[in-house]
């Protein structure tokens, strides 16, 4: 299907590329369909373009690239909408908030997006752990306590290779 977007003009999206967020992003519950797009000049950052609102796009990135120690655990009930119990099916993205000064760019570690790669469904997860910030600085030095806390969570879960673990 052909779609009009503000940033990219008309794009051609195959049905198989459509990422469905049943609940939408928090605050954007009316938008359920997105497409994830690579951007050569912006690599490794990616776009998540809404198929419902031409001007709505989020900048996202795989946290493994920017913060290898980032890891969290979710309950099965919490991700029922993702239609899988296997972490191998899941890909995590974090939402990037740009800033006037590029050094002030932050990523949202408390509300990651989890995607079932096979079924192309995704969900924004709310992590109650207060050690995860919604405005984690991407380029400036991170406060040590936060890095330590993330490390502690990772160790606790003992699944270093996976961004996300499924519990109970």
């Amino acid at each position: 299907m052909k779609l009009q977007t503000t940033r990219f003009g008309t794009i051609d999206v195959q049905e198989a590329q459509v990422l469905t967020l049943v609940e939408g992003m928090l605050g954007f519950s009316e938008c359920h369909r997105y497409v994830l797009m690579d951007d050569e000049i912006g690599e490794p950052f990616m776009w998540m373009q809404s198929l419902d609102i031409p001007s709505l796009a989020f900048v996202v990135i795989d946290p493994a690239i920017i913060l290898p120690s980032y890891h969290f655990s979710v309950k099965k009930d919490q991700i029922k909408g993702l239609e899988t119990n296997s972490v191998e099916d899941l890909q995590v993205y974090v939402i990037v908030t740009m800033a006037a000064n590029i050094l002030d760019v932050t990523v949202n570690l408390q509300g990651p997006l989890v995607v079932n790669k096979k079924k192309r469904v995704g969900q924004q997860i709310v992590l109650n752990d207060p050690n995860f910030s919604t405005r984690h600085p991407l380029f400036t030095d991170q406060p040590e306590t936060e890095t330590e806390a993330i490390e502690a969570v990772r160790k606790e879960n003992q699944v270093a290779s996976q961004r996300v673990a499924i519990a109970g």
């Binding site: 776009w47 939402i95 990037v96 924004q124 709310v126 109650n128």
Partner: protein, 77 residues
């Protein structure tokens, strides 16, 4: 807003399928147990609002191009 007084151990029910129980009252904190169908996402309000607001900020600040952040990232590597 409906306001009810409950003691520790007592509950309220909402409709047929939601139950909220006061588990423990300690000083200024109340522990609540919530039984609800899985279709309802339950969050601490302040966390939920913080993520909602950050999403709106992220959407409003999304640039026209990723060139500047891409360039800076490559320079840092």
């Amino acid at each position: 807003m409906l306001i009810l007084t409950r003691k520790s151990g007592e509950s309220i029910t909402i409709g047929d399928d939601i139950k909220i129980q006061v588990i423990e009252i300690k000083g200024k904190q109340v522990r609540l147990g919530i039984d609800a169908p899985k279709k309802y996402a339950i969050h601490r309000e302040e966390v939920y609002i913080r993520i909602q607001e950050e999403n709106k900020r992220a959407a409003s600040k999304a640039p026209l191009t990723l060139k500047s952040i891409g360039d800076l990232w490559k320079k840092k590597q």
